[in-house]
Amino acid sequence: MLLFRSEEHVELSGKPRGAFLNPEQQWRLSDAWYHDRADPAWRRKTVDEAEAVFTDLGLLGPFWKLRP
């Protein structure tokens, strides 16, 4: 997960095209993922919970599916 100057710069870098998020989406995803990491009760998200986070952020489609 890298921060590029623009989508054009991803193309120029030669990296295969994947999925794009704007920084606000990424902040919300990172916050959802890590805000409770120092909580003693923390546990890994289940597949359903993780997919629900993606869906809430509008991250839809096969790229964001965790099941084969």
Binding site: M1, L2, L3, F4, R5, S6, E7, H9, V10, L12, S13, K15, P16, G18, A19, F20, L21, N22, P23, E24, Q25, Q26, W27, L29, S30, D31, W33, Y34, H35, R37, A38, P40, R44, A50, F54, P62, F63, W64, K65, L66, R67, P68
Partner: protein, 148 residues
């Protein structure tokens, strides 16, 4: 004896927050009164639980204890009065989240090296630029987490 994994996880995480480096197994064993083998076993279990990822070939050290990196990366995070390295932009912002929601991420465009900053204050993104690119589909992030 199987050490309390939650206690060890929180101890290691706390040390990273305080020192900006991930302690090796011998440091954790000394701090918690464990044998080094017990600490190594706990590190392996944390690796298996995807709490982090071991340094390849070295069961005594983490390469990453998510969201923190044990090695320098292009993602510098300033938060809570200290500087850290995130594994990627996802984790760099995750460090800010874990530390209370205020901080900055400095990085450069992998293509042109243009310097960019993301700033968060009170859990609100205050400064943003650029676009985040994921090259690996979510189902395969942990196939090779260092690459991801």
């Amino acid at each position: 004896m199987e050490a309390d994994l939650t206690q060890i996880r929180l101890h290691v995480l706390g040390r990273v927050v305080e020192t900006a480096r991930i302690p090796a197994a011998h440091e954790t064993s000394a701090a918690l009164g464990l044998t080094e083998q017990e600490a190594i076993d706990a590190y392996r279990r944390l690796h298996e639980g995807r709490v982090g990822s071991m340094e390849p070939g070295d069961p005594t050290r983490f390469r990453m204890l998510n969201p923190f990196s044990a090695v320098p990366t292009p993602f510098t995070v300033d938060a809570g009065g200290r500087s850290y390295f995130g594994n990627c932009v996802f984790d760099a912002l995750g460090i800010i989240s874990l530390l209370g929601g205020t901080g900055t991420v400095n990085t450069t465009c992998p293509d042109c090296k243009y310097a960019m900053t993301l700033a968060v204050s009170d859990r609100r993104l205050q400064r943003d630029e650029g676009v985040v690119h994921f090259s690996v589909p979510a189902a395969h992030w942990w196939d090779d987490i260092v690459y991801t």
